[in-house]
Symmetry: C2
Subunit: 401 residues, 2 copies
């Protein structure tokens, strides 16, 4: 190796003012596609990670009322007491366990909750298990604080399910935490209760933290039961559960999420949260109270809409050359495979340029499913059909051998 | 020293799951007082860090309109384009320089902006200059990422002004950044343009980053000119300026702030911001557009209200035994001194327990002004007068020698 092979440029071009920890943050693959799409005409977005349905009116009106009642000051740092109470009751009923407001921290969306959880428990030399593919937030936050990421590949052949035996085999004495995400982004997989219970129980036994991102917890289809990690553990000592109003109530822009954990953990995270954002926004928290206390037909109707879209999208993908798909039962993504060896983001890029359909390559979400495309159905059936009128003839012309 | 002198308990009692970096976060002094006050009856709060005035109606209504128009989804990660444009124009005019939207990142309040700025440039062995006293956010965020804090004491005798020669003398080859905060929390000091220009110019020359927290930038009295660091630098290569709508428009609970820097720095911080909170809340950002684009009489009226309160509070403090005060020209705090050697938080604690008046001890904000009390005038003159009807007789009974 000659000196010129060294990637000196990389280090020299990096402005030395920055904390080297920021090098763990990748150039965001989704952002790249969306930015490119912004410069093209007549793009159909199958790349969207937020609901397209309007938020329920009574929820929005609760924010309006709060604003007009002068609710523009800070709430308590842990969150609006009314929201903490509502969340404790709601999860208590749903997961059949007793929770108190002191088990909960309200955050700026699920993102801040994940940020706090991962950066607060990561540290040099600590090993974290993360599925591959996975939402691209987890690994950089772990690495940023010195933690090591060990990937657990999931496979299209079995619908990207987690095999609990494989997970438990992967635990080492150095394993500090495991990150779970069911329903999963990007795969749509919903983990059954049995699998979760086995993993959580073994993790508790070994003192391994389970950090569960459950933002898609209400987007579950085919009447499948949803098992929250909160309903799979005997106590909360080694569990942090994250969710938000974003996907369930079409409120992504309201930026209200939460973290549920032991009272001791919440006490610690509250202090950290004061330093990251101080507190979540007040009108959004009032919307959250209305969402939990009000009537929930919105959610049932929404699930039906997404399920119909998923079914139609499955048909469209099945009729498309070179794409193979399993049937995911949650979230609003399909994650079909291209032939082996094909790189998803290259296909996504050409597809966008040549047909104006924006999807995301599987390699954005990890290393083991590069040959996949993430297709979002947070868009109308009409849009899905129009998109595949472009995709099918384009795929017919491809020769991926 | 025997083995039992070692603080083993500290290490053993600390749950090993946590990132040791969190040890840099102190038990929050203000929170302790406010929590204690919550259990007492008939408390008068002179401890408040947010405006008590109602937010302007047209600003609140802009949020209402946005909500009703379905603006509950994400904006662009850097912020709502309309808000970025409005901020660029507003600062462009105010600071007589050309800014583009790409110089700005909208954040979850100024807190997230400060969090991003400090954690993104801190790193092991880097030295940061921070005034003492200072808002208690800065030092932990610097230390959390390995940076070292070097305190620059400011003194009550000269109104807690920064002497630019002293600052420049404190620069070392290892100085990485300086944190400025004018108007200052807790001292109310407003730094004159001359002093800021001298510091910023020398910092630029030496490649030292200037991080300027300007959240109180409109709360300036006696017709004093406000000098933003943005109006004191020739280019933005070594400058980050943070502010928000919280104090200027009584919108602390809306959680919308921003960071202004070079386009390159913003590009880097945008990526980081995606991982901390994704994006600021959408209805709050629309409120911000209305605040900047709408009429500003609210701000002028507010400044008059705060100035009258400050003047009355000065009189009350002057008439109180054991308290000595200079005249601060900004923010909404007085920071009078108790006799030398008296610890402010001990006095504040006894004052709260024995009279029901809640103030904050100077030692919450650093080491060099332990013998001070922070008294907030984000409350009515009536409340200030009632509080001093309790404080004066209590102080008369004290013997601090």
């Amino acid at each position: 190796m000659s000196l010129s092979d060294l990637d000196i440029d990389f280090y020299e071009s990096e402005d030395p003012v920055w904390n080297p920890a920021l090098l763990t943050i990748p150039v965001p693959g989704i952002r790249k596609m969306v930015n490119l799409a912004a410069n093209l005409k007549d793009v159909i977005h199958l790349s969207i990670g937020q609901p397209d349905l309007p938020a329920p009116e009574h929820v929005v009106e609760a924010s309006v009322e709060a604003l007009r009642a002068g609710q523009t000051g800070y709430t308590m740092d842990a969150g609006l007491p009314e929201l903490l109470e509502a969340l404790a009751e709601y999860y208590g009923e749903r997961c059949d366990r007793t929770l108190v407001p002191e088990n909960i921290l309200v955050t700026t969306g699920a993102t801040e909750a994940i940020y706090l959880a991962l950066t607060a428990v990561s540290g040099p030399g600590r090993e974290f298990l993360v599925t591959d593919p996975a939402f691209m937030l987890y690994a950089p936050l772990i690495r940023m604080n010195g933690g090591e990421v060990r990937f657990l590949p999931t496979r299209a052949e079995n619908g990207h399910q987690l095999d609990p035996d494989e997970v438990i085999d992967a635990f080492t004495p150095n394993t500090h935490a495991i990150v779970l995400n069911s329903p999963n982004n990007p795969t749509g997989a919903v983990y059954p209760r049995r699998a979760l219970e086995a993993i959580v129980e073994e993790a508790a036994y070994r003192g391994i933290y389970v950090i569960s991102d459950e933002v898609y917890d209400h987007l579950v289809y085919d009447g499948v039961e949803y098992a929250s990690v909160l309903s799979c553990c005997s106590d909360l000592d080694h569990v942090m559960v994250v969710s938000s109003f974003s996907k369930t109530f079409s409120l992504a822009g309201m930026r209200v999420g939460w973290l549920i954990a032991s009272q001791g953990a919440i006490k610690k995270l509250r202090r950290y949260h004061m330093f990251t954002t101080t507190v979540a926004n007040t009108p959004g928290q009032w919307a959250g109270v209305a969402a939990l206390r009000g009537e929930r037909r919105f959610v049932e109707d929404m699930v039906k809409v997404y399920q119909r879209r998923r079914d139609r999208l499955m048909e469209l993908v099945d009729a498309t050359p070179h794409l193979t798909c399993y049937k995911p039962q949650g979230a609003f993504y399909l994650f079909p495979s291209l032939p082996d060896g094909v790189t998803g983001s290259n296909v996504a890029l050409r597809l966008l340029r040549e047909t104006g359909v924006c999807t995301i390559g599987g390699d954005t979400f990890g290393e083991h499913c590069s040959n996949a495309l993430r297709i979002s159905y947070a868009t109308s059936i009409d849009n899905l059909e129009k998109a595949f009128e472009r995709i099918v003839p384009w795929m017919e012309k491809q020769d991926f051998d």
